[in-house]
């Protein structure tokens, strides 16, 4: 498994080096620096030299490197490195050079806890935060606690501790969808799908058992049979009627948080779980059918002369007039030799960003059913290279509340607990742009 973990900053200075096995030599850090960081032609995230493999990812301005010998599980190594990053983020706010440098003792402590002999151990943030804290745990004081902590760190319900109490029992559910779109130059939709996530913040007393229902129709079943998530499978025809009324959504695939009982999900499609305390991601899903695209984009680009390009971009909001999208950003690529641009917009602000070669058009509030237009011209400077402009696609960012591209709705969330208290549930929907690209 992993022989060691290395953290570098952008310049290739070593920030952290933790060896887990004896075959992790200090020199390997130099090897990585020479071979990868100072070698711009390296483009693969995995590099094997001799019998040593370096797997690296980048986060903010640091390199996170897993060093291993032998035929290791590559997917596990990368996933672990990403886990380390997200752990760092939840501990220090962000995981960059600054944060690592000022918390390097903590980073060592964390690494010590989540890896043993190179094998990943418990990486649940909530559990770790119980005994690896910024204040430090004094061993006498924590004596009684620590046996509990260790029970929890290894137990079947490693994500939740006992004796949680809230005066007000609340659960917030956020359905967040990233809609991906790729439209060809001729206007046909090449790809439209939704990556959704259901985030939950649970402030519930005791050990609540939750059941969760969506208006989906999972086509994962063996015989292609539609099995609804809602409750036990009873009268099939009756259920179908109710489903049709609710307007059901087909999910291609779902992945569930480890607190969800996968076996009961496989058997009867119920999502039942004991939630961790606080916020967590309950599930992620994919949908490809009947995707409602929030924005329709029309792009007309003319290269008039060698020195001038004309743009006319119209964006229409396809959602109800009561809704509005916020922080809409449209990036319109310009040729690399653009000298200056002029633009006119019917809403928002447009600005040319020479560093990225794009015109950035920002609209703070985009009301439903409205249409805005950008017309622009780019003057091109003379260049020596006569390469044709590759025309990168136009891209969009936005976030839109109370709208789901897939049409997914939360039908119910039930909480069962010994205390039999009543709880308040809040549901929020949001659609964001994933990679929303329009070629022209």
């Amino acid at each position: 498994m992993l022989s060691g973990i290395l953290l570098f900053n952008q310049k290739g200075e070593l920030l952290i080096m933790r060896a887990f096995r004896q075959d992790m030599r200090p020199r390997l850090a130099d090897v990585f620096r020479i071979q990868v960081i100072s070698n711009p032609s390296i483009r693969s995230p995995i590099l094997t030299l001799g019998s040593t493999t370096f797997s690296h990812i980048r986060s903010e301005n640091i390199y996170i490197v897993g060093v291993s010998k032998g035929n290791v599980n590559a997917a596990l190594v990368f996933e672990f490195l990403y886990k380390l990053v997200s752990l760092g983020k939840s501990y220090f706010g962000r995981f960059d050079e600054e944060a690592v440098k000022s918390n390097f003792v903590m980073v060592y402590e964390l690494l010590d806890e989540i890896l043993d002999f190179g094998y990943p151990q418990n990486t649940e943030t909530d559990t770790l935060k119980m005994y690896i804290t910024t204040e430090g745990v004094k061993s006498e004081r924590a004596l009684e606690d620590s046996s509990k902590i260790t029970m929890q760190a290894t137990g079947a319900l490693s994500w939740r501790r006992d004796n949680i109490k809230y005066r007000k029992n609340e659960a917030f559910v956020d359905v967040i969808e990233d809609v991906n779109l790729l439209v060809s130059a001729s206007g046909t939709v090449l790809r439209a799908d939704v990556n959704g996530a259901i985030e939950m913040r649970a402030y519930l007393t005791g050990m609540p058992e939750c059941k969760f229902g969506l208006n989906d129709r999972l086509t994962l079943g063996e015989n292609g049979a539609d099995v609804s998530l809602g409750g036990p499978v009873g009268n099939k025809s009756g259920q179908k009627a109710s489903k049709a009324a609710a307007g059901s959504v087909t999910l291609e695939d779902v992945s569930l948080h480890q607190c969800v009982k996968l076996s009961s999900f496989t058997n009867d499609r119920t999502i039942s779980f004991v939630p961790p305390d606080g916020s967590f991601q309950l599930m992620t899903y994919r949908a490809t059918e009947n995707v409602n695209l929030p924005f329709k984009v029309q792009v007309i680009v003319n290269e008039i002369r060698k020195s001038k390009v004309e743009y006319s971009i119209a964006i229409r909001a396809n959602y109800g007039p009561k809704l509005f999208a916020t922080s809409v950003v449209v990036k319109v690529p310009t040729p690399t030799n653009t000298a200056s641009t002029t633009h006119r917009v019917t809403q928002g602000k447009a600005k040319y960003e020479p560093s990225e070669n794009v015109i950035v058009w920002k609209i703070a509030r985009f009301t439903g059913q409205s249409e805005f237009v950008l017309s622009a011209e780019a003057e091109l400077g003379a260049t020596t290279q006569q390469k044709a402009w590759s025309r990168p696609p136009l891209s969009m960012q936005f976030s839109l509340l109370m709208f789901t591209s897939s049409g997914l709705l939360v039908r119910y969330l039930k909480v069962f607990e010994k205390g039999n208290y009543s709880s308040v549930k809040w549901v929020r929907y949001m659609t964001r742009a994933g990679s929303y690209e329009i070629r022209f």
Binding site: D30, L47, T48, S51, F78, D116, T123, V137, S139
Partner: protein
């Protein structure tokens, strides 16, 4: 006293950082001591040698402050090797800590003891380890379980003597899922390092326990359990079905590496299930999670895509309907784009090729040169794979020629040559091709065009003029192009003898008299003699019908593929190489031995097909011949070895090789790279049947054949880095040469 004085004299001057740290470490204030320890660790990270502080740091080991303890332990682990004697001073604390009422401290002590790799420490480890293995806290037990693996690594004999391995085996029945997972981890580590211990032999009882723990343990534990399950050979169909049923819910796990491990387990155990409907069900269930992996982080995605590539080679139809997911995003990293291209071509079928060709055309307009070339090549691969798509593909290619971008046009020419080799009836586009003759500067593209001209000489009115132009500059051409010119002119002569008599003489003259490349001279002589003996025989040989090519999509040979499937989601599956080809000696030697054994067995069952694999292995077990890179890196890096460091960059300048999935020096027969390209071209000269070759043999004499065999057919390529290429490489070359005649 004398010792003290000596030490004073030897130690660093009183001033300076080290001195400051030392005085801090022995300070009477706790916070100052802690701060100094932190500073010491910081200096250690930066690569400064702070081992002189060892005794002073050690004084701080007995502390109630858990943080500080951890730091001291960290320091100990790092420098224990350089101060083995002083380590003994710490033993007492360790033993005490391992009996501390606080389980966190007990676990920390046993964890650290295992990491202090000093022989003397080992003797003191026995007792604490035995106790902690039976600890009441599962947290301590799971830490102790891994510690057994550490001890085994240090002193295997002691580990076995004390029965720790048996204890681990018993611990698989532990009530805590994480203890189960770590015990399995430790056992599989031990059995990998020393298979003779038979540490991990899964019984049906253990199987039950593992399946039970699977649903409850952490994501990482699940991966361990799934990997062990995948290696398990089920006793009967029933058991395999049971495993698949219990494992398949893991497809829904949020961690992509768990999903991959589950896919691997189910995929391998499916082979033992006879029921075809069950097969289909699992394949169907597998598809959506695999597709979901494509939306994970780029690096994870890369591993997933390489694995999907493997799965598709075994089961080509699992992702039939999912083509669109693999479309490249504009800002995907290049390694993803290239892998996605390969997968799209594999998924292509008669219902989705329209969409794919439009997409590939789009990619061909991008700026990344490698990507564009691969995209153009993919168009050809689709055309050759799916007959209906050929016409559309040719149209797309013609449009691309009109872009007049140098590297696009060149790649298009190479691709069109392949299409000609499969489908007749596109001769109409030859004039368009010939019009861009002046833009071609790469040997492969020039060679391809010349081949086309030679092949269709009778249909091209000005073929003679075109070739005459090439003949004029014959001496300046690349070897590869020269060979093509030779053949093309001979073809032209056989088709239109009256027009090109002079030309053929000129080129043969140039090749035999002026060229100093034996390869070219020899081929020219062969043609010359052939033409002067009997034109009819020459016609039979040179113009004989070529066997049609079936596919230009690279596929792994069957035995290699089968040996890779059990390695899904590991490095081997990313590189598409068996593990022993890229992993040197050392720890994994046992694994290597096992792999060799397996391959030998393959060879027995299927001698011809396995030849490739076993040839590759030949280079493996003897690391001394296994490439210099290996030696360079395995040199003891602790010792100052600047020489090896200077060489390293040259070795690893493999940015793009890495992309193809593997660094160049682990090339195995399948990716003989440039050599393969040459083989293709050589094959084009008309593979005649054996009888004619035999005749030729008689005529030209054996000497000629031997002469050819000795040639380095890889042209300008450096000699293969590892001996593994040797066996098959040579054989193939010989076969090709024979086919030539």
């Amino acid at each position: 006293m004398a010792v003290n004085r000596l030490r004073n004299a030897l130690s660093t001057p009183r001033k300076g950082e080290t001195h400051e740290l030392r005085s801090g470490l022995v300070s009477q204030y706790a916070y100052e001591r802690k701060e100094s320890i932190q500073k010491t660790i910081m200096a250690m990270t930066l690569g400064k040698d702070v081992s002189v502080l060892f005794p002073d740091v050690l004084k701080n080991i007995a502390t109630p402050d858990l943080d500080q303890k951890k730091l001291v332990y960290l320091y100990l682990m790092n420098y224990a090797k350089s101060h083995p004697d002083l380590c003994i001073l710490a033993v007492n604390t360790f033993v005490q800590d391992s009996e501390d009422p606080n389980p966190l401290i007990r676990a920390l002590a046993i964890r650290t003891m295992g990491c202090i790799r000093v022989d003397k420490m080992v003797d003191y480890m026995e007792e604490p380890l035995r106790k902690t293995l039976k600890d009441e806290s599962p947290y301590v037990r799971k830490t102790a379980a891994l510690c057994v693996a550490k001890l085994f690594d240090l002193n295997a004999a002691l580990c076995i003597e004390n029965g720790f391995v048996e204890t681990l085996q018993e611990m698989i029945a532990d009530s805590n899922p994480m203890v189960v997972a770590n015990s399995v981890t430790a056992l599989s580590e031990i059995s990998e390092a020393a298979p003779e211990t038979k540490a991990l032999v899964v019984t049906s009882q253990m199987l039950k326990k593992m399946l039970l723990a699977l649903n409850e343990c952490t994501e990482w534990g699940r991966i361990t359990l799934l990997t062990t399950l995948a290696d398990y050979r089920p006793t009967d169909t029933k058991e395999a079905e049971n495993i698949c049923e219990r494992v398949s819910p893991q497809f829904q796990h949020v961690n992509p590496s768990v999903v991959l491990a589950a896919v691997k387990t189910v995929f391998l155990h499916m082979q033992h299930i006879d029921n075809p409907t069950l097969h289909a069900t699992y394949l169907k269930k597998m598809a959506p999670p695999l597709v979901t992996l494509v939306s994970s982080q780029p690096e994870v995605q890369y591993v997933a895509l390489r694995n999907i590539d493997l799965l598709l080679q075994k089961q080509s139809n699992i992702l039939d309907k999912e083509m669109r997911v693999f479309f490249c995003k504009y800002n995907d990293p290049p390694y993803l784009k290239l892998t996605k291209l390969e997968i799209m071509v594999r998924i292509a079928n008669s219902s989705n090729f329209d969409q794919l060709l439009a997409e590939l055309k789009e990619y061909s307009m991008e700026v990344d040169m490698d990507f564009v070339r691969k995209a153009v090549r993919a168009i050809g691969q689709v055309a050759i794979k799916i007959e209906e798509s050929a016409e559309k593909a040719v149209n797309v290619l013609l449009e691309l020629i009109n872009t007049k971008i140098g590297y696009v046009v060149q790649e298009v020419i190479v691709v069109i040559k392949d299409i000609f080799r499969k489908y007749p009836g596109y001769e109409g586009i030859i004039p368009t091709l010939c019009s861009c003759i002046d833009d071609l500067d790469e040997p492969n593209a020039r060679g391809s065009l010349i081949w086309i001209v030679g092949e269709y000489a009778e249909k091209i009115s000005n073929a003679g003029d075109i070739l005459a132009g090439f003949v004029d500059g014959f001496n300046e051409e690349f070897t590869q192009t020269q060979l093509q010119i030779l053949t093309a002119v001979v073809k032209l002569f056989l088709k239109k003898p009256d027009e090109s008599q002079g030309l053929v003489q000129k080129v043969l003259q140039a090749a035999t008299a002026e060229s100093d490349n034996p390869d070219i001279r020899d081929r020219a002589y062969v043609y010359w003699r052939l033409l002067s003996s009997d034109p009819q025989i020459a016609k039979n040989i040179v113009l004989s019908a070529r066997p049609q090519i079936t596919s230009t999509i690279p596929v792994l040979p069957g035995p290699l593929l089968d040996s890779l499937l059990p390695n899904l989601s590991t490095l081997a599956s990313v590189y598409h190489k068996p593990p022993h080809t890229f992993i040197g000696g050392g720890r994994s030697s046992a694994l290597q031995a096992a792999a060799i054994e397996e391959a030998k067995q393959n060879a027995r069952e299927n001698p011809i097909a396995a030849a490739a694999v076993s040839a590759a292995i030949a280079g493996g077990p003897t690391p001394s011949t296994g490439g210099n890179a290996e030696n360079l890196l395995d040199i003891d890096f602790d010792g100052a070895a600047p020489a090896s460091m200077q060489k390293a960059p040259a070795v690893g300048s493999s940015g793009l090789e890495g992309l193809a999935g593997t660094p160049q020096r682990v090339a195995s027969p399948t990716s003989a790279g440039g050599g393969g390209g040459m083989d293709d071209l050589m094959g084009m000269f008309g593979n005649t049947n054996g009888t004619i070759a035999g005749q030729m043999n008689g005529n030209a004499g054996n000497g000629l054949i031997n002469g050819f065999a000795g040639l380095d057919m890889n042209g300008g390529q450096p000699p293969p880095p590892q001996d593994q290429l040797g066996g098959t490489g040579n054989k193939q070359t010989k076969e090709d040469l024979l086919g030539l005649f």
